[in-house]
């Protein structure tokens, strides 16, 4: 068995080794894919060894080395990171199955590079999840940006290049111009950047400075896609769908909101923020993002674009719930990281399956597709329910907690935003389901006989859809982790 310390390091070493082996096995696609799957399985096993320890209250940590005094590359597993690592590594297995089906089904080029970069991105995600201080998090955050760039621009076309420019430009400039100065400042003020229960900035700054620093952090973490720094996410949709699914519904964007929550809880400290009363503006900005992104999603005909704006909106739920600072809403924020992950990956899987089987990308082309692809659209429907926040899907639980938290702290703006956006969510998801199942297929040039997508893809999206439902009935692990984060 691995010691906890070894497990932490292995969670990054395993995908890195995987990346190396994948690149060596590039000429033998079957072997290469086998390596991907085995790596993903091993990674999940490694991450799972840590779960019982963390649930039991242990916080294993590793100090890798010290870059400068007080500035360490160090890891520590705490409940939030545990959950994030669990989600990312668990969904990587499913996503690998799906990717294999998708990449082969669409005869994509450069598949080796694709799988190598994917494994690198997962390694970076694990680094983010387990980072023990803001500095380590920042490093892996940048690594994640850079390692996903080749995935976003995978097709190598002009369009991919332009998308990549926006992607990299926005993510790099927010993290460099806003987050980096904040990081240096935190280090300068506190002499450390370690994630500490209760925060490290208590009594060190005036409320105004605190608000400014918080602004630098939350906008600097561009991956959380808070408006006005959200444009990279729709731009990243030029990527092949598995990339959008795992990275831009789970790993990358969740790395964003995960970092936001983590910074607020472990760097600023919930109490420090609450005393200073500096998060109301953040609730407003996140609320605006939720509504505005939903409205854009309502008007988008391209399916992936609609999903992208839905993601932007859902991410801001997490940010808003965290900014409410109420214990219940924080639980909601953490739960929503898990719930949205399984739901949104299902939606993207479905979008990719539709593209592979029917070569359709627009919502308006989907009339009657549910009859030809019942599994795909069934999964889509379940995931859409989760997005809207209806039972029996995981999204219901997280929304429940968020609304409870908002009401408990009597934040009526937040309550209004959640209610309004629920309506909007229904407004842009239900028509798709209606079209798919209840409208007769249009007999036009787009139409050609097809069935379900390749089996691997269907298995993958069924699995994640089932997870969405299962998480509704058995939300114990994420909830337990969330409670531990709040009451350590």
């Amino acid at each position: 068995m691995l010691t906890p310390e070894q497990a932490i390091l292995a969670s990054m070493a395993v995908p890195l080794t995987g990346a190396l082996l994948i690149s060596l096995a590039g000429r033998m696609p079957n072997l290469r894919e086998a390596i991907t799957l085995v790596t993903a399985a091993v990674l999940l096993a490694v991450v799972l060894t840590l779960l019982p320890l963390v649930l039991a209250g242990a916080r294993p940590s590793v100090l890798l080395f010290s870059l400068l005094p007080g500035l360490n590359i160090a890891f520590q597993v705490e409940p939030l990171g545990m959950l994030f690592a669990l989600i990312a590594s668990g969904l990587w297995i499913v996503n690998s199955l799906y990717s294999i089906g998708y990449m082969r089904g669409n005869q994509e080029a450069h598949q080796t590079r694709f799988f190598v970069c994917f494994a690198l991105a997962i390694a970076a995600t694990m680094g983010i999840a387990f980072s023990g201080n803001l500095f380590t998090l920042f490093i892996f955050y940048e690594v994640l940006t850079l390692s996903t760039y080749p995935l976003v621009t995978h097709h190598g076309t002009e369009k991919a290049r332009d998308g990549g420019r926006i992607y990299l430009g926005l993510l790099l400039s927010t993290s460099t111009v806003l987050l980096l100065p904040a990081l240096v400042f935190i280090w300068f003020i506190a002499g450390t950047t370690d994630f500490t229960v209760g925060g490290i900035l208590a009594d060190k700054l005036k409320p105004g400075e605190l608000a400014l620093l918080l602004g630098l952090c939350v906008f600097g973490i561009g991956k959380a896609a808070l408006m006005p720094f959200h444009r990279w996410l729709p731009a990243a949709m030029v990527a092949p769908t598995p990339v959008s699914a795992l990275l831009h519904a789970v790993a990358v964007v969740k790395a964003g909101v995960f970092s936001v929550v983590k910074v607020m809880v472990y760097v600023f400290g919930v109490d420090t923020l609450a005393t200073a009363g500096t998060t109301n503006w953040l609730v407003a900005v996140a609320g605006f993002t939720i509504i505005a992104a939903s409205v854009v999603a309502l008007t988008a005909d391209n399916l992936k674009r609609r999903l992208a704006y839905s993601t932007i909106s859902q991410l801001s739920y997490v940010t808003m719930a965290a900014a409410l600072l109420a214990p219940l809403s924080l639980v909601g924020a953490v739960m929503h990281i898990a719930a949205h992950a399984v739901g949104k990956i299902t939606l993207f899987f479905a979008a990719g399956a539709i593209y592979t089987a029917a070569h359709k990308t627009e919502v308006s082309q989907l009339d009657g597709i549910g009859r030809r692809m019942p599994w795909t659209m069934g999964a889509f429907a379940i995931a859409a329910l989760s997005m809207i926040g209806l039972p029996p899907a995981a999204g219901f639980i997280s929304k429940w907690y968020m609304v409870s938290g908002a009401m408990a702290s009597q934040h009526w703006l937040a309550v209004t935003v959640i209610v309004l956006s629920t309506l909007l969510n229904a407004g842009y998801f239900l028509p798709i389901i209606y079209r798919a199942f209840f409208v007769a297929p249009a007999a036009d040039a787009h139409d050609h006989p097809h069935g379900e997508a390749p089996l691997l893809m269907v298995i993958a999206l069924t699995a994640t859809a089932s997870a969405t439902v299962l998480l509704f009935f058995f939300p114990d692990v994420p909830l337990a982790l969330a409670r531990q984060m709040i009451n350590p």
Partner: protein, 494 residues
């Protein structure tokens, strides 16, 4: 005979003796062997000196046993031992690199002369760094400069001649200004020993000749270190010189010039005098910012990679000067560590460009289309170097940027913090021009048969690329030395 006490002298003497030897032996492979041994010995000596200084403190060596201030003193402290390691280390890598790279760039019958000039240049640069004597600095500056002019003129392109001539004119003006400044100081103090001069200046501080000397030295050295807007010679020189020379000079020559500036400012004039009597702090800050933004912007519009990265050098020198202008330990640490970090980064990039020029037949953006397919490793190496220029964490450049930001923050100058990060975004733009051309354009037909890179070129290049990442993660050597050196320059002030 025990050579250990004479290492300071040998540091310069070894390459200096190698120079005439290469001329006498003439055969190019023999000349190469001599030069190689000399440069590797120089590296070994500088590492040993660094080790000694780190453990036992400053070394003072009297040339010919004439004690200072009458004789010439070689004085090695944390700062210049660090620089010696950089200069000799880059030379030790650039020399094997040059063996293969000059095959296609320099006529074979001139190869031995190339090695002569190379070791001469090395001796000059090491001499500037090691000596504790003002006039000696000038002499070695001329040794290194004259040999550098020749090295640049050896470039295959006919424009190399013009570039060398341009550099010669500017360099001579710079050297003249420097010697005038030194002369004025000698006039006022009656000594040429830097440390001694520093002490004696205290009584004549603020007099007109001393201020004039400060101005002359600043302008003269600024010409050599290519401080914006005195940088015009640099892009041509780097672009048209043989690639091994570009790599060597880009990594070392301007850095040594910065060292001279540091030495005069802090050891001779004393920082209080420099920054009190004249608005040097503001002036340096202005020049630095102008360089960071203007040169980066110019770099964005270059069509040749060598020129692109040459302008990037001018911008990066801006960072170094910016650190100096803070007049604080953290600021100086940033400057000194960036000397090293930028040295290895640019050394690596120009070596990589040498490999690319050999493989693809040129380094214009039009020619390197699809480099990611044709030469994946070299292309990746340039990206790593580019990331270091941008200051991405995990690369050496990040460490320098971190200290610069820290220096700005501790003085509460938030606007400067944002200037620094914004200018690093400009670096991202020019680096990404390369990335897009290398990875998104289909390779040209006429670059179909890429010549394999000889191992003599690829191995030193790979070492430097790895060093970029290594020194981005392990800072015990770089920051450890630089912060000590900075504290010492500021007289132990923390």
């Amino acid at each position: 005979m025990n050579l250990a006490p004479h290492l300071p002298a040998l540091q310069v003497v070894v390459p200096l003796i190698a120079a005439p030897l290469t001329v006498l032996l003439r055969r190019r492979s023999v000349a190469f062997g001599v030069a190689l041994v000399a440069s590797w010995l120089a590296l070994a000596i500088s590492l040993q000196l660094w080790w000694q200084v780190a453990n036992t403190g400053t070394i003072s060596y009297a040339i010919g046993s004439w004690p200072a201030p009458w004789g010439i003193e070689y004085r090695i402290d944390r700062l210049n031992s660090f620089l010696l390691v950089l200069v000799s280390g880059i030379a030790a890598l650039a020399l094997p690199f040059s063996r293969s790279s000059i095959e296609s760039e320099v006529p074979p019958q001139q190869h031995y002369l190339f090695y002569t000039m190379f070791v001469l240049c090395l001796a000059g640069l090491l001499g500037i760094a090691i000596t504790g004597d003002a006039f000696n600095i000038f002499v070695f500056l001329e040794v290194s400069s004259l040999s550098a002019y020749v090295l640049i003129a050896l470039g295959r392109d006919r424009r190399a001649l013009f570039a060398a001539y341009q550099y010669l004119l500017v360099g001579s003006i710079g050297a003249t200004f420097l010697v005038i400044g030194i002369g004025l100081l000698y006039l006022m103090t009656g000594t040429l020993n830097l440390a001694d001069m520093g002490q004696r200046l205290a009584s004549v501080q603020g007099t007109r000749p001393v201020l004039a000397a400060l101005a002359f030295i600043t302008v003269g050295v600024s010409l050599k270190l290519a401080l914006f807007p005195l940088h015009q010679w640099l892009p041509n020189a780097y672009a048209f010189a043989p690639s091994a020379v570009s790599a060597f000079l880009a990594a070392t020559a301007t850095k040594v010039a910065v060292y001279v500036l540091l030495r005069f400012y802090f050891t001779v004039f004393g920082e209080s005098a420099v920054f009190a009597k004249l608005p040097m702090q503001q002036m340096m800050l202005l020049m630095a910012l102008a360089g960071m933004f203007a040169a980066s912007t110019i770099a964005i519009f270059q069509t040749d990679l060598k020129r692109l990265f040459a302008y990037s050098s001018v911008a990066q020198i801006g960072y170094i000067i910016l650190g100096l202008s803070f007049n604080s330990v953290n600021g100086l640490t940033a400057s000194i560590v960036h000397l090293f970090n930028h040295g290895i980064t640019k050394g690596a990039i120009f070596m990589l460009l040498g490999c690319v020029a050999l493989g693809m037949g040129g380094t214009t953006l039009a020619r390197v289309q699809g480099l990611g397919k044709r030469m994946p490793l070299a292309s990746f190496g340039i990206v790593v170097g580019g990331l270091s220029l941008m200051g991405v964490p995990g690369t050496a450049g990040f460490i320098s940027k971190w200290y610069l930001l820290l220096a700005a923050l501790e003085q509460g100058r938030w606007w400067l913090v944002f200037m620094i990060v914004l200018s690093s975004l400009l670096a991202a733009v020019y680096v990404w021009r390369f990335v897009e051309v290398a990875y998104f354009r289909a390779p040209r037909q006429d670059t179909a048969d890429v010549a394999a890179t000889p191992w003599l070129m690829s191995v030193p290049t790979a070492i430097l690329v790895i060093a970029i990442v290594y020194f981005g993660l392990d800072t015990s050597f770089t920051i450890g030395t630089a912060s000590d050196a900075a504290a010492a320059l500021l007289g132990g002030r923390r």
